[in-house]
Subunit: 416 residues, 2 copies
């Protein structure tokens, strides 16, 4: 293993990332790619072509998780997986997720070129819909794979137009019983995901690689505030129960609660705020908020959730508005496997690359793959830590180094 | 004139209001009717049929203002106008505007039944788009009629999809040069609009009629707040320049400024708040607000506008966000003509109805008709003062009394 020398064509990966970015409902540099839309299906077709060119066997499951397998010399052993997602939030960038998919493929190609022969099969995975854009819930694909979303719940996920996932996936051409989505327990022995850091640490410390030891615990709240509408000219101020003014207080309480935990890792964000009826001369009667709270530890996270609930109670009483709160996601954090972390560290050492162990504050499919097998993540720096924005950027050299580390990590895990 | 006895079929007006409400893009009781949409065109066709049944001569101008004329014995004299609008804000009610259109028609029918012969022609007017839904600007039709919006500005009004009014009106079937929209100075001698109060005063004081002496001065601001986006999990709190948190402070400052003028007539509302990119796991990078400020006097109104600008400056500096403010509307208030006010008062006295003189805090096309001729407005009570909501309600008897007062007012003005 230690004599394996691999050669990654970083420019080729880069060109493929550029081409993938053209399947897009926004204008480049912004990328919008939502599950089951025409651009999503085109991006999948592009990826399948690249996988076929590399001699991989491609299949898609009933909801569109895509698997591309390079058979090992002992094909009946649990495989080693790698991959990420290609869907993109509205007006996001071109590296989030895609680096792990096209970089995963590049790692397999580099191992093929180096005439490496895997013992366990190595499989590239593109998860259906890591981003919560369509169904308000992230990691739909990996939740399905690990059984966190059983078939009936998967089928009945609904988008903003109240369309069911089951109808949408059939219309998009994905067939088969949803019972077939969940992977058997012994399908993978290990899974490792390459990803941009989406934070500023690696760039600031001038490190090419981060090796993830844990993924933070996200909680997400939906809040509906019901006040009283009316004509903006005619309803006098003392008579008002303005839902947007109530929402404004809650938005500021969310921010204050995250700052007050004493943990510098706590973040809380109101990312969605929709106003009804939404006319300049109507007092807002209803506001819908979605709030995301994270910390690498459960305690400060739950402290913020509690503070938000208290603020909502206070606003509700003081302003005479009704507030309904639903906690629609509160996943526990995941710890990465020592075996995968060691394999990635050994790969870095072999390549002479410095690295640091770190925590992922962002959400990843690996959070759910950790329920199926041993997992790990490899981070590369991205410019200024920026992600989910059109100016998200990772340099070709950074991607190339990440692919090298990934290739050697996969080699080690597949030989195990 | 004083021996004229009129008989209004309030139930017929009520049935017509119900039928008009079926031309609607929401679900009854909510009404959504936006300029040049299929339901708007169907509502117009319904109105034209009713006008033709009453023997009126119907014409539409190049942007869709609809005129239905009952010729007087001296048809070359300036006419007396009455009317209002049939467009409805998203998820609004069925009485705002429509009572003045179908009630205006009912007043004409009542005068016909009473065998009244007008000296001046009496003309029913349905204004194109009083509500700001489509173009972000209210009273597009009446602004065109009085020249406040000249042809080039009319043509280039743009909706949210960036479509020009000129293209939209042609596609909807309205032909002719936009130069033809402005009415000649001597077209009307007087104009009077029947409307629900959209406030609680008449109901609270148990009065059937309000006679308007002035219309409040509305000002409207557009504000774009540019912060910095990023991944909601990865950007730590001290690094954030969250556009929605900045907006929340401004929304609360708008409310506080309106409460602080010392005038109980001051109102200020943030009715529109749109967040970009609008995803639960993205820090908001941009927020767009529309703010409406009104008072019956200019001074407190301008004091609020100034306070909002100061708050925006403060938030901008403190949070490191860029804020662009555009004052897209700041019309002066209008005073109603003594002649029209007296005619309406005489009508009330003849009918034995109590009334009060009052100010309109809501916006009306009469604000712009006041630039063309002598104007007045007749208010009727609506339940709990509620408007711009699905539960907006005016009782048949209240509408019937308003139509009676309008009919006698038109009779007096047309005899003048």
């Amino acid at each position: 293993m230690t004599d394996l020398r691999i050669n990654v064509d970083a420019n080729r990966v880069y060109r493929e990332l550029d081409e993938l970015a053209t399947f897009n409902d926004a204008e480049i540099p912004a990328v919008t790619r939502v599950l089951y839309t025409p651009v999503d299906l085109k991006a999948r077709a592009f990826l399948k072509r690249l996988c076929a060119d590399a001699g991989l066997t491609v299949r898609e499951d009933p909801i569109g998780n895509l698997f591309a397998r390079w058979a090992g010399s002992e094909p009946n052993l649990p495989a080693v997986g790698t991959g990420s997602h290609t869907d993109a939030l509205p007006f996001a960038g071109r590296y989030d997720g895609t680096v792990g998919v096209l970089g995963g493929l590049a790692a397999i190609r580099a191992l093929q070129t180096a005439r490496f022969r895997p013992r366990r099969s190595i499989e590239l995975l593109m998860f259906t819909s890591e981003e919560p854009t369509r169904f308000g819930l992230g990691c739909v694909g990996s939740r399905g794979l690990c059984g966190a979303l059983p078939p009936d719940k998967l089928a009945n996920l609904r988008d903003k137009e109240d369309q069911r996932l089951d109808d949408l996936r059939l219309a998009a051409g994905f067939r088969g019983d949803l019972v077939g989505v969940r992977l058997p327990a012994n399908y993978y022995s290990a899974f490792v995901e390459l990803h941009i850091e989406q934070g500023p640490v690696l760039e600031r410390e001038n490190l090419p690689i981060g090796i993830v030891t844990a993924i933070a615990a996200p909680a997400a709240l939906r809040m509906t505030i019901e006040g009283e509408g009316g004509h903006a000219g005619a309803v006098l101020m003392p008579q008002r129960r303005d839902a947007l003014c109530a929402a404004a207080e809650i938005i500021l309480a969310v921010e204050a609660a995250a700052k007050a935990t004493g943990s510098s890792d706590t973040v809380a964000t109101t990312g969605i705020c929709r106003v009804h009826p939404g006319a300049v001369n109507s007092v807002p009667s209803q506001v819908y908020l979605e709030i995301d709270v994270r910390d690498v530890r459960l305690e400060p996270r739950d402290q913020v959730v509690k503070a938000i609930r208290n603020a909502a109670d206070d606003v509700s009483q003081r302003r005479g508005v009704k507030i309904a709160i639903e906690m629609f996601n509160a996943d526990p954090p995941a710890t990465m496997a020592a075996s995968v972390v060691s394999a990635a560290e050994a790969a870095c050492k072999q390549l002479g690359l410095t690295y640091k162990r770190m925590v992922s504050r962002a959400y990843h499919d690996t959070l759910f793959m950790a329920r199926l097998c041993e997992t790990g993540m490899i981070f590369i720096p991205c410019r200024a830590g920026v992600s989910h924005r059109p100016d998200e950027y990772a340099a070709p050299e950074a991607i190339g180094r990440g692919v090298e580390v990934l290739a050697l990590t996969l080699a080690r895990l597949s030989a195990d």
